[in-house]
């Protein structure tokens, strides 16, 4: 006799003794299945809220960094935020890509879209990001119509997560005005010390490259010496190295190097 009625089948399953192998497997499967559906529904429904929160935080960080930069507060209050403009640049040539609207450009999407990005040769990929978008956003702040600061979005692998940061550079294209991280997932209390103001305060004033254009800025173990070095975070060597490598990549030829060269030559 073959009873195909699912309700009877279900009753028979429930009637099985609990240590029965079939019942064990079915219960295990059902619990896992229902739990995963529950979690998936929550993840999908709440995703817009998460993204909105992250976006708000990113904007807040940028505004906070801009406000904390020397003299920036005056500019923003004096001339309004019109002096802060987003531009898209072609990373390979370092020139402005005027055909792309900064308002609709999504850098993260561009970096993962094969038609808008290129793989990085492994020997050049010190930041461990494998792929970078062909175009990137830079934020240019002007004072009295003259370029005052550029803010570059950078990212790189830290100890256990991707670090996302903004690097602000003075008009000379070589002096750091500030560094701030807006997204990371490093070890709480250890790697997350990259977020501490005490450490971030070490960055302004440091130099990026030497006279020959070679990138020298780095995070060193222990005490920093000279204008190219920043103290490492003890206990977070790999996070510190990650920050160093991230800057080396983005200041180099595959990153913002060509753009910064033009900036230093006064072509921007």
């Amino acid at each position: 006799m073959s009873d195909l009625n699912p309700i009877n089948w279900w009753r028979r399953l429930l009637a099985l003794p609990n240590d029965n192998l079939t019942k064990t497997l079915v219960v295990a499967f059902l619990v896992a299945f229902i739990a995963s559906i529950f979690v998936s529904i929550a993840a999908v429904t709440l995703r817009p809220y998460h993204l909105a929160n992250l976006e708000a935080e990113r904007q807040g960080r940028l505004a906070a960094m801009v406000a904390a930069l020397p003299g920036m507060g005056d500019i923003l209050t004096g001339a309004g935020v019109d002096d802060m403009e987003a531009h898209i640049i072609d990373l390979t040539s370092g020139e402005f890509a005027t055909h792309i609207d900064p308002a609709t450009f999504d850098q993260r999407e561009a970096a993962s879209d094969p038609t808008q990005s290129s793989p990085i040769p492994s020997e050049a990929d010190v930041a461990g990001i494998k792929q970078r978008s062909d175009f990137a956003q830079v934020i240019i702040l002007r004072k009295d119509g003259k370029l005052h600061l550029v803010v570059l979005p950078v990212r790189g692998i830290g100890y256990q997560s991707m670090l996302y940061a903004y690097l602000a550079i003075h008009a000379d294209g070589n002096t750091i005005a500030g560094l701030t991280f807006y997204e990371q997932g490093e070890t709480p209390g250890i790697g997350t010390r990259i977020l501490e103001p005490e450490w971030l305060e070490l960055w302004p004033g440091k130099q990026l490259v030497d006279k020959n254009g070679e990138v020298l800025i780095s995070v060193v173990r222990g005490e920093a010496v000279g204008e190219f070095e920043v103290d490492g975070i003890s206990g977070a060597t790999r996070t510190s190295n990650g920050v160093s490598n991230m800057l080396h990549f983005w200041l180099g030829d595959y990153g913002f190097g060509p753009f910064l060269t033009r900036l230093r030559n006064g072509e921007v």
Binding site: L14, N18, D19, N20, K23, T24, V27, A28, V31, A32, A35, S36, F38, V39, A42, A43, L46, Y49, H50, N53, A56, E57, P188
Partner: protein, 219 residues
């Protein structure tokens, strides 16, 4: 009815999960630097505890013994993930302050302890009351520790300045120790001391007695 009420009230003081069973200490230390984080954590844990106990209790007759722990953990973990996502969606700043500790509710012995010790063997309604009682018991301890730490560590309660600080021209010099983890141990220890002096039946029998000097010489 009396019995039902006991499920709810016993875990508050008489069998408090934190003070008597010493469960959930990790989060009790980590999130009690201020009252607001303690409140959020207490709420999150209570909700997870109640929902997991109700779920486990409702399928208790069909959980195979050989995989019961994994079934319980799966249910608890799913609830915790959803709770974490809810906090990140609607209380983003707070979820950043709580960082990993909401996720760590999965490993909170309190939740699994109630599932294993009570919900697995009891009907839904008593399980719900027991879970709610234990959640409130945990919350009570967290709120006391959180209130003491925020009041003496920052002179504030829920961010509202109670004692004017010296740096703002007041008289209160904040105790920096209160913002560090050891202070939670001290406060918790004092609380347990107070509860056990009040209810001596909670004092455990010593597992080893101290040897007298003679015994030590000739064991």
């Amino acid at each position: 009815m009396k019995q039902s009420l006991n499920y709810l009230t016993d875990p508050l003081v008489k069998a408090n999960p934190v003070a008597l069973h010493i469960l959930g200490i990790c989060s009790a230390l980590a999130v009690t630097t201020s009252l607001s984080t303690a409140l959020t954590m207490a709420g999150a844990l209570t909700v997870v505890l109640v929902l997991s106990s109700v779920t486990i209790s409702s399928i208790r007759n069909h959980i195979p013994t050989s995989i019961r722990l994994i079934v319980q953990i799966t249910i608890i973990a799913s609830l915790v993930i959803v709770m974490d996502m809810l906090l990140r969606a609607f209380a983003f700043e707070m979820s950043k302050k709580l960082s990993i500790f909401v996720g760590l509710i999965v490993t909170n012995c309190l939740v699994l302890g109630r599932a294993e010790a009570f919900a697995r063997q009891n009907p839904v309604w008593p399980s719900l009351l027991d879970a709610l009682g234990n959640g409130l018991g945990y919350s009570l301890i967290l709120l006391i520790v959180g209130a003491v730490r925020e009041l003496f560590g920052a002179g504030a309660l829920l961010g509202y300045q109670v004692f004017p600080l010296v740096e703002n021209g007041g008289w209160f010099e904040p105790l920096r120790l209160m913002q560090l983890a050891p202070s939670a141990f001290f406060i918790l220890g004092l609380l347990i001391w107070i509860i056990r002096s009040w209810r001596p039946e909670q004092v455990e029998e010593p597992e080893f007695s101290i040897l007298s000097q003679n015994d030590a010489r000739h064991p």
